[in-house]
Amino acid sequence: MEVLTITDFLNYFTNNSEQIFDYTLEHIQLVGLAIIISILIGVPLGIYLTTNDELASTVLQITSIIMTIPSIALFGIMIPILSIIGQGIGFLPALIALILYSQLPIIRNTYTGIKDVDPNIRDAAQGIGMTTVQRLWKVEIPNAMPLIMAGVRTATILNIGIGAIAAYIGAGGLGSLINQGISRSNNTMVLVGAIVVSILAIIADLVLKYIQKKFTPKGG
């Protein structure tokens, strides 16, 4: 394989910008949808777990086992299972896998964030006559927000990476560039794919860090 120069890279980039843009959009759609669904599942579950320590340790154990399973292996296991309903390859298995991987960081951080709220603050909230629901919305969730956002960030970065691998099971996205580049021995295409997906991950990390900071109470 030939050595890539900056000029090759830029040429490829300008010649294929439309395709790269489409792949990026696909990637963002896949990851974005997975994260939204994961938040809708993980945050309420994490909150509920604060009322049941027994269940919390069970759920955290199960999600951490899922997290340990290599992503390509999880795809490998899901394809035969989902083929039963004719969805073995494509968007759906990728989405399910991403949602599964997001559960540990989101549930764990929500659970820890709410558990860690200073008992004195909780007492004070009770003392001024807040109901359990009010306390949750006005005190506990705002206090846990930075940690929840940190969990969302971890999950997003993880999903961008796994989303790239999902191209191999036909889910599209930036992984397709790497996939096609390798099979066509097109080194430039491989590197462009790798660099764009890395940049996407880094930008997501920075943006979510910024949002996380916004949610952190001043003086905290």
């Binding site: 269940l55 992503s71 191999y168």
Partner: protein, 247 residues
């Protein structure tokens, strides 16, 4: 038994039943057949996978722990700041992208796979080594210095034992991720269980998929538990007590 325990038990039962259903379904559909029909090939892949992980993993451990120790010495405080930030940033780069980048420069083969896996494993260990050493209380180090411990003695007797938990956690994370990423090494000609998984995907052959995916998952989970055990054995008892008291 109260309601909370009951719910937890039900969830556990669902999990285990799900696993049993999966395995019996897989067995009854001959999904593990490749392992029994081609045991030679299976052990070959296992061997390749282990070699990839062991070589790149041990090189990563041998590089990043000393590097972490080095960077936390007072002289290198300024460099440490950059190292920590680079380690943070580097870890956001997807594993496939690292493989692709390395392949772009080194071409295809086992060596390229080893370099990529090594690069991917260095950062978590480095980050945890630095964090672990920096978490040692300044007061403790001051007391040690005041009593006449040399810097080397402070490192071996105070800093490293206190950082052990964090360092081993870093090694655990790195190795588990390494096992997963090694399954992608097939893409750049590195061998390992990825061979069967990707063959399965390309040929729509569920038996190869399962026979590659299940063993590699079990390998990752086993290594994870092994290191959790090591955390228990290698971390000084006094620190475990301290952790319990905090949590």
């Amino acid at each position: 038994m109260n309601r909370n325990k009951l719910i937890s038990l039900i969830v556990k039962i669902i999990f285990w039943v799900g696993l049993i259903v999966f395995f019996s379904w897989a067995f009854s559909n001959d999904m593990f057949l490749p392992i029994f029909e081609e045991p030679g090939a299976f052990f070959n892949l296992l061997g390749e996978h282990l070699i990839l992980v062991l070589i790149s993993g041990s090189l990563a451990i041998l590089t990043s722990i000393p590097l972490g120790i080095f960077l936390t010495r007072p002289r290198f405080r300024k460099v440490e700041f950059f190292a920590v930030n680079i380690a943070n940033l580097g870890q956001t780069i997807p594993s496939l992208a690292i493989l692709a980048l390395v392949m772009g420069f080194m071409g295809i083969g086992m060596e390229a796979a080893l370099v990529a896996l090594f690069a991917y494993s260095v950062l978590p260990i480095l980050q945890n080594t630095i964090a672990g050493i920096n978490s040692v209380d300044e007061d403790k180090k001051d007391a040690a210095r005041g009593m006449g411990l040399t810097n080397t003695q402070i490192l071996w007797r105070i800093e490293l034992p206190n950082a052990a938990y964090s360092i081993i956690a870093g090694v655990r994370t790195a190795l588990v991720m390494n096992i997963g990423t090694a399954a992608l090494a097939y893409l750049i000609g590195g061998g390992g269980f990825g061979v069967w998984i990707f063959t399965g995907i390309q040929l729509f052959d569920n038996a190869y998929l399962i026979s590659g995916a299940v063993p590699v998952s079990m390998l990752a989970i086993a290594v994870d538990y092994l290191f959790r055990g090591m955390q228990f054995v290698l971390v000084p008892k006094g620190l475990r007590l301290a952790r319990q008291a905090v949590s």
